[in-house]
Amino acid sequence: MHLSAGGAAQPLKLRLALPTVPHAGLLHLAAALGYFHDQGIDASLMREIHGKAALAELLQGRADLAVVADVPVVIELLKGVPLNIVASVANAPTELAVLGRTDRGIHGPRDLIGKRIGVSLGTSGEYFLWAFLVRNRMAPDAPQFVDLPPAKLIGALRDGDVDAIAAWQPVRHQAELDFGNAIVSLPAPDAYAQRFVLVGRREYVQAHAQDLSRLIRALLDAEVYVRAAPARAKSMLAGLFKLNPEILDPSWRDMTLEVEQQQAQLVTLEDVAAWAMARGYAPRQPMPNFLSYLDLDPLLAVNPERVTVVR
């Protein structure tokens, strides 16, 4: 199944479910640049439209590992699905924002009270909106949430079905381009630092600790590549996603591709869990110990300085 120390055995076959978003860029690049192969990993990529779809592949057993934002992972963990987070591969603290139509009187956070806000419920977008309201000392039910799929957010805002939307990149950037001064962008970097994590089923992760260290090594190589040649890395990703490189610019600007396991992540996971239980996305229960869902060993084995989780 996996390589021996001498490297003479069969390469590890790994099925990776990855969203075609730059947040999973390290894995896409490691595959494209041959870093997985260098580490004796035969990776087959399952490209999904977004993180939740990638997580679904994992849950259905069609993938060994998936890259997804932290919110869906927390919801699944609260439902009792045995998942382990191998590493965080991207963080984007300034990517999400609330975009409000100024003609509806929205100029600042508190103007959202009583307004209709379009958001994709059950996603990191909704959690951001919830944290945004808390950060601005507003009750979660102060505005009215309107459930919209990501693709319909801009249309609803344009048509006036909603007064504001909570959106990620590149939807946020597209809206800012389309509406110009007609909307106001309200970010909240202190409210929610969105992370994309590499996650797998617990039994799989625990059974492949050494293999996952090699995977981590490949991701760190990709990280070095991104740091050394960011423009080339972005172009390569755009090519893989069959997109114009400029479309990736907003996301690329607002995020950092880094392999890490941070203490701050535990706080976020707990905050998300509190939100998920409050919103009914998961059954109410005592706050779980998320430390047990972090698999620190693969990263500790390769680069312990990247692990700041108190242990």
């Binding site: 000392r137 202190d190 706080v267 700041t308």
Partner: protein, 489 residues
């Protein structure tokens, strides 16, 4: 390329390498100083961050005014540290900028919590708000601490990396110097010692008489020039020697003819001289009573003159014999020969009182017969020239002359004027009147000829009325210097 040019090139390269190493060490020193400064400054930042976290936590827990004021002080201290210009590298400077942003965020969030606390209603929204911000503050501060500690680690890594680089540069420099030294040694062996060895062999060959030996050094350097000059010199010597050989052959032939002529003349003259003496004696014996006094005196004068001429011819024959005799080297006891001669002289004139001081054990390598002749002449002279001294002393011994061992014969007799020393060893040369000291003037010429045959030097010192000293300096090493090999005899 000339050897001097190669030496200059090697010295310049060696010097360049040393300068490179020196620059490397100076660079490393600057790097280490900067890294040490980064580490010191980072430790101070970690301390300030710890303080800030402590008082922040205290405030969030108990809302004490003291903790709030301390947070202000800790932030100002941290702000100063983060604003201080230190020699950070690019990565560290980026981390420092990040720390500055996080510190500002943390302090700003603390201010919001503080402000919210002042007008807090204590409802659920407020609690959620404070919990959110508190978590954010704590995670920001923890992240800042991790980054600050990373700065310390980076400084250590910079020091390690610098030391490794210095070791590498030094090792490379030493390797380069070792290669240069080896190359210089190889070039020295090839271009200097090799040609010198060939030159030394050539000089030995030439010294041994191999005039045709050619030196094969075709390099364009100084030694090549020297070899070419050497070859030119041997060619010139070879030509000169060839001419000398021809001249010597002619000289030998002439010499032999001259010796033969001298011998014949001397030998042939003896017969008429004997007749003159014999007939003069016969006249005196048979007709002496019939001759007057003047006639008898004339006959006596004829006899005296013919006998003296006979002695002269004997001396000349002796000189010729010394020249012609074959040299047979053996150990010769000079002391024993001198004593034997002294006894003979004492017996011949027992009435004379002479003190002999002959050193024991004077032994030299030479021709016994010729050395005996030389000593006989020297001691005859000493005996003769001390004849008018009441307390005559004749010495035979050894001493140092001009830093070399010498045998000497000295006396306290009539001596001679050093101004005429150059004439001493010429045949028939006399420095005293015959009426004072009879003799032919050939003795010292014979002595000199014997010494020359041996290749030894002969010298003399003296002063009128204060005696004379004759010394010769035997040499053992250079038989080829002896006159027997000299074609001119």
């Amino acid at each position: 390329m000339k050897i001097s040019s190669k030496a200059r090139w090697a010295a310049a390269t060696m010097l360049g390498t040393m300068v490179l190493i020196a620059i490397s060490i100076a660079w490393a020193d600057a790097q280490v100083r900067a890294a040490v400064e980064q580490r010191r400054h980072s430790v101070e930042i970690v301390g300030a961050l710890n303080n800030m976290r402590m008082v922040t936590f205290e405030y969030l827990l108990n809302r004490r005014e003291r903790a709030r004021l301390q947070e202000q002080a800790a932030w100002h201290r941290l702000e100063d540290l983060l604003a201080t210009a230190v020699p950070f590298d690019e990565v560290a400077a980026s981390t420092l900028a990040s720390l500055r942003r996080q510190g500002e965020a943390s302090h700003r969030l603390f201010g919001e919590v503080d402000a919210a606390n002042a007008g807090a209603a204590g409802d659920g929204i407020q609690r959620r708000f404070e919990a959110l911000l508190s978590s954010r503050i704590l995670t920001e501060q923890q992240d800042s601490l991790v980054k600050a500690e990373q700065l310390i680690d980076d400084a250590g890594a910079r020091i390690d990396a610098t030391q490794r680089r210095v070791v590498q540069v030094t090792a490379l420099g030493l390797l380069l110097m070792a290669i240069l030294t080896a190359a210089a040694a190889w070039l020295f062996l090839r271009d200097v010692l090799g040609p010198i060895a060939r030159l030394e062999l050539a000089t030995r060959e030439v010294a041994a008489g191999n005039w045709s030996f050619g030196l094969n050094v075709d390099s364009a350097d100084e030694l090549g020039d020297m070899a070419r000059h050497f070859n030119a010199m041997t060619r010139a010597l070879r030509d000169s020697f060839g001419r000398l050989v021809v001249s010597n052959r002619e000289l030998v032939t002439l010499n032999k003819e001259l010796e033969s002529f001298s011998y014949s003349v001397s030998h042939d003259l003896r017969s008429p001289l004997r007749s003159m003496d014999g007939f003069s004696l016969a006249l005196l014996e048979d007709y002496g009573d019939r001759l007057d006094e003047e006639a008898r005196d004339s006959l006596q004068r004829i006899r005296g003159a013919s006998q003296r001429m006979g002695r002269l011819i004997d001396e000349l024959l002796g000189l010729a014999r010394v020249t012609r005799a074959e040299l047979r080297l053996q150990s010769v006891d000079i002391s024993a020969i001198a004593r034997e001669i002294a006894e003979g002289l004492a017996k011949a004139q027992p009435e004379r009182r002479v003190r002999w001081e002959i050193e024991d054990g004077i032994v030299v390598m030479g021709d016994r017969e010729l050395l005996a002749i030389a000593l006989q002449n020297l001691l005859d002279n000493a005996w003769k020239f001390t004849s008018k001294v009441p307390e005559a002393v004749i010495q035979v011994g050894t001493r140092q002359e001009d830093g070399k061992p010498a045998c000497f014969v000295s006396d306290n007799g009539a001596g001679f004027d050093m101004a005429y020393a150059a004439r001493l060893f010429g045949a028939f040369q006399r420095l005293h009147h015959e009426s004072d000291f009879p003799g032919t003037g050939v003795g010292l010429a014979i002595v000199q000829r014997v010494m020359r045959r041996h290749g030894w030097s002969l010298g003399a010192r003296g002063a009128p009325g204060q005696g004379a000293t004759f010394y010769f300096q035997p040499t053992e090493q250079d038989d080829e210097r002896r006159e027997q090999d000299h074609p001119a005899g």
